[in-house]
């Protein structure tokens, strides 16, 4: 167990943006909520997964809906509490701790704000190790953990308890309800026992985010480029360096889909990188050759500052470094690839691990 104060929150927010792989929502709101909660209630207890009793009830917390709504209709902090109380009452058992289901983006910070307010500990783990757009895209799902019973709560004090036959149905119904409830709700979801967390979660992800954030900030202070330090922490590699020359976006089925074209600079001179995104970056190709694909992580960094750039923040002329990072091994299983691999997102190609794609390039 250790304590997370304001400094740690600042670092985690930067790491969360990086693992957001271009999506996941700007962690800024979540950061301010966590900072205000720490100011009012004191620091947060962070538990290593191994410290959690096997039979303890663990309930992850997350927002569902459009990040654009949340940056305008900021939560009041009671939504997540209401969802927790409601689920606790339904299950007839006290919740021992919370955790994020999604390390990337805003959902990494919101459980911290909740934990500070309720005085609950947070487990140093999540269900994605990155950001993904749908509820069933968590490692808990791969292990057969049900998303329900789950509770959705809005700021108007509406609450909805869902029991569905599987997580895909939970995603469908919750998504529709979210729109009616105002486009952004808080969830108490994937209730599970401590032993299940140990088995199915991606561990020590908040600590990783904190380290990433600390390195980026330290590099900034020392006027250094943090990219190498980031790669060291994440076993990642540079996929491409260049300048964004074209962005093509459209909304389809509620997703911000699109392609960014990046013209090569430095080692990539005379090459062209295409980044395909659906909220998150999912596929990177250089001159038609795949260099990284979901569920492996693709993140775009500002070449000068090393700060992550979201898909919305990408614009003509951005000088960027595209990095690839291997996903958690849980995603590289048959079921993991079925749920989050390229074909699920409509790309007609097979998943190949980042390391192998890189080998292919070196052989050529």
């Amino acid at each position: 167990m250790r304590l997370l104060g304001k400094e740690e929150i600042e670092n985690i927010a930067i790491g969360a943006a990086l693992l957001g792989t271009g999506g996941g929502g700007d962690p800024y709101i979540g950061k301010l909520m966590a900072l205000q909660a720490i100011e009012e209630h004191g620091p947060i207890r962070l538990l290593d997964p191994e410290e959690v009793p096997d039979d303890a009830l663990i309930v992850p917390s997350a927002m569902m809906g459009a990040p654009t709504v949340m940056i305008e209709k900021v939560p009041n902090g009671e939504e997540a509490i209401a969802a927790f109380k409601s689920l606790e009452e339904y299950l007839g058992k006290e919740i021992y701790a919370t955790m994020p289901i999604e390390a990337g983006g805003i959902n990494s910070l919101l459980p911290l704000a909740l934990a500070a307010t309720l005085g609950l500990p947070v487990i140093d783990a999540d269900g994605m190790g990155r950001a993904f757009p749908e509820l069933q895209m968590v490692t808990f799902y791969l292990e057969g953990v049900s998303a329900t019973p789950m509770v959705l709560s809005d700021e108007k004090k509406n609450s909805l308890l869902l029991n569905t036959i599987d997580s895909v149905w939970a995603e469908r119904i919750a998504r529709t309800a979210t729109i009616e409830m105002g486009g952004s709700v808080m969830l108490a979801i994937y209730p599970m026992e401590g032993r299940v967390v140990k088995q199915s979660a991606i561990k020590n992800i908040l600590s990783l985010e904190e380290k990433i954030g600390a390195e980026i900030r330290a590099a900034k202070k020392e006027n250094e480029n943090p990219v190498d330090r980031i790669l060291g922490l994440t076993a990642g590699r540079v996929l491409f360096q260049g300048k964004v020359t074209d962005i093509n976006r459209k909304t389809q089925d509620g997703f911000a889909k699109g392609t960014a074209t990046i013209e090569g600079l430095n080692d990539n001179k005379n090459e062209e990188c295409k980044l395909h995104f659906q909220n998150e970056h999912l596929l990177a190709q250089v001159d038609g050759r795949t260099v990284c694909v979901t569920p492996d992580l693709i993140t775009v960094l500002d070449s000068d500052t090393g700060m992550p750039i979201t898909t919305e923040g990408l614009r003509y002329g951005s000088r960027c470094t595209v990095i690839g990072m291997p996903c958690d091994p849980k995603w590289r299983t048959e079921k993991g690839i079925e749920v989050t691999g390229p074909r699920y997102f409509g790309y007609d190609l097979d998943f190949q691990p980042l390391e192998e794609l890189h080998l292919v390039k070196e052989e050529i």
Partner: protein
């Protein structure tokens, strides 16, 4: 009867003024020193430019001012209004109170009267809850005699202004016109905290703007000039005095914008990179269809995160007064310190004791200024290295702002533009227009009037084409309201950003229309513009 106009632009070092005829020919131009109070520098420049022109004052019909008064007030935390901030959004939004994340010193000045009231809208325009009008009235009563300016920010006011407008009405009913009211929907876009911050800052500088405007009107009157007065805003267009004192925050960063606009006009290049070399910094911006490219990132003003439009400018510490340090081992350092406006007493070629970038350019025969014999003793080889590095710095910044590796025209303006050569890497050509030293003041004088809207539309309802047509019409209406000639309007910017996880293909659309001024004189048929 001939018709003239004056453009004035206040920079960090110089206050520049130009007087143009109706065909925008430069009749006279002056550079005055920017003074600490800003205003006396403006009056100096005004007096001198009129005197130098020999134009009869009754033929000066327009006066445009781009000034730093408002920026300075925020950065220096001085002369700020006593403000109250009312956020309409409860039961939502209370997890982050107003001004959280704003630097403490500013928070202690502006955060004395903060309220969160029930109300606000959903992303699709529905009410979250009805507006608590009672509470707004109570707050207004409480604030009697306590504040002189109120910022009102309602959740999703960029989608529906209803609650914000109603709250403004109630506040005015109780407090009358003495208290200024700033509505967030007029200032920023989606993003509650950033828009709220910008609105609070706006409320805080209302008095500064009013006294600046009054001072300018008085100064003109003292010269016997009875002109229509406009202020430059940071998107390269003008606003009336009435609008300026309501929305003074829009004047922030109008300086770099004016340079860009002036450069476009002077060279007839609507798409180009503009390098504005001042005394202390070099600012590089991008012209797209004669307007500055806007920054897509949250912009900090005085340490406060805001989200209103700002020109996208890359700035480096390299200007005409930048100090060069030569070390004994042959190495050197360029800036970032600068002698600024004191170049003419400190620079070596002017008989001073400090080696500056200007001295380097003169010694190498690139610029012809001051007394070259005063720098002839310096080691040319070392100076060449310094100069190469200076050019490198500029070229690197140019490259960063480009949208592709294709060479683009580069326009050099500003007093320090004499430092740079006529060839630069990445430039298809380098243009140094005549009067480039006062491009900013010219930009101020020739500005157009614009209207901009930024809203979330559900494109499924009307279809994309009709939605865009509606958005354009709204922008036109805004521009006409701001004083533009309806017959002269064009769309100068259009951006669609689809929003994820929302139904109906919700899309954020930003449209800007701009056109020439519809003058009082045109209306009365007295003198065509």
């Amino acid at each position: 009867m001939a018709s003239y106009r004056i453009g004035i632009d206040v920079g960090g070092t110089h206050t520049d003024a130009v007087l143009l005829d109706e065909a925008y020919n430069v009749i006279s131009e002056v550079k005055a020193t920017t003074t600490e109070d800003v205003s006396s520098g403006i009056y100096q420049a005004l007096k001198r430019v009129v005197a130098a022109s020999g134009v009869p004052v009754e033929q000066i019909h327009y006066a445009m001012l781009g000034t730093t008064h408002c920026t300075n007030a925020i950065v220096e935390r001085k002369r700020l209004n006593k403000v109250a901030a009312i956020r309409i959004g409860a039961p939502a939004t209370t997890a982050i109170k107003p001004l959280v994340g704003v630097p403490d010193d500013l928070r202690s000045i502006l955060g004395k009267h903060l309220y969160i009231v029930r109300g606000g809208n959903e992303f699709d325009g529905r009410e979250i809850v009805p507006l608590d009008e009672e509470r707004i009235r109570e707050i207004a009563e409480e604030l009697k005699g306590q504040v002189d300016s109120i910022a009102i920010t309602s959740v999703f006011s960029p989608v529906s202004t209803q609650h914000e407008t109603r709250a403004g009405e109630i506040v005015r009913e109780v407090l009358g016109d003495e208290v200024a009211v700033s509505l967030s929907s007029e200032i920023g876009s989606v993003g509650l905290l950033e828009r709220e911050n910008a609105t609070i800052l706006n409320a805080a500088i209302v008095d500064v703007a009013t006294s600046t405007a009054n001072g300018f009107i008085k100064a003109l009157e003292q010269e016997g000039i009875h002109a229509d007065i406009f202020f430059g805003q940071n998107d390269g267009t003008l606003m009336s005095v009435e609008y300026t004192v309501k929305y003074p925050i829009l004047t922030i960063a109008c300086g770099p914008t004016n340079s860009l606009r002036g450069a476009a006009y002077l060279t007839d290049h609507p798409d180009a990179l503009v390098v504005d070399v001042g005394g202390t910094t070099t600012d590089v911006g991008v012209l797209v269809a004669s307007f500055p490219r806007q920054s897509s990132l949250a912009v900090e003003i005085g340490g406060v995160r805001t989200n209103f439009r700002m020109p996208d400018i890359a700035s480096i510490g390299l200007g005409g007064g930048t100090i060069i340090t030569l070390n004994e081992d042959g190495s050197f350092q360029i800036g970032p310190e600068s002698v600024g406006y004191r170049l003419i007493e400190k620079g070596l070629v002017f008989g001073g004791d400090t080696l500056t970038t200007t001295d380097v350019a003169v010694a190498l025969g690139i610029a012809d200024l001051g007394d070259p014999s005063l720098v002839s003793h310096l080691d040319k080889e070392v100076l060449k290295k310094v100069y190469t590095k200076m050019v490198d710095m500029a070229e690197e910044t140019i490259d960063k702002m480009k949208t592709s590796s294709d060479p683009v025209p580069v326009i050099l303006v500003g007093g320090g533009s004499i430092l740079f050569p006529t060839e630069l890497k990445g430039a298809s050509k380098v243009i140094k227009p005549e009067n480039s030293g006062v491009a900013n003041a010219i930009g101020s004088a020739i500005s157009q009037v614009s209207g901009q809207i930024e809203k979330i539309f559900k494109t499924d309802e009307l279809g994309r084409e009709e939605t865009l047509a509606l958005a354009k019409k709204m922008a036109f209406d805004e521009a006409i309201q701001a004083g533009a000639d309806p017959d002269d309007l064009v769309i100068v910017d259009l951006e669609e950003v689809p929003l994820s996880y929302l139904p109906g293909n919700a899309t954020k659309i930003r449209v800007k229309a701009a056109g020439g001024l519809l003058s009082e004189r045109k209306l009365t048929g007295a003198a065509p513009l």
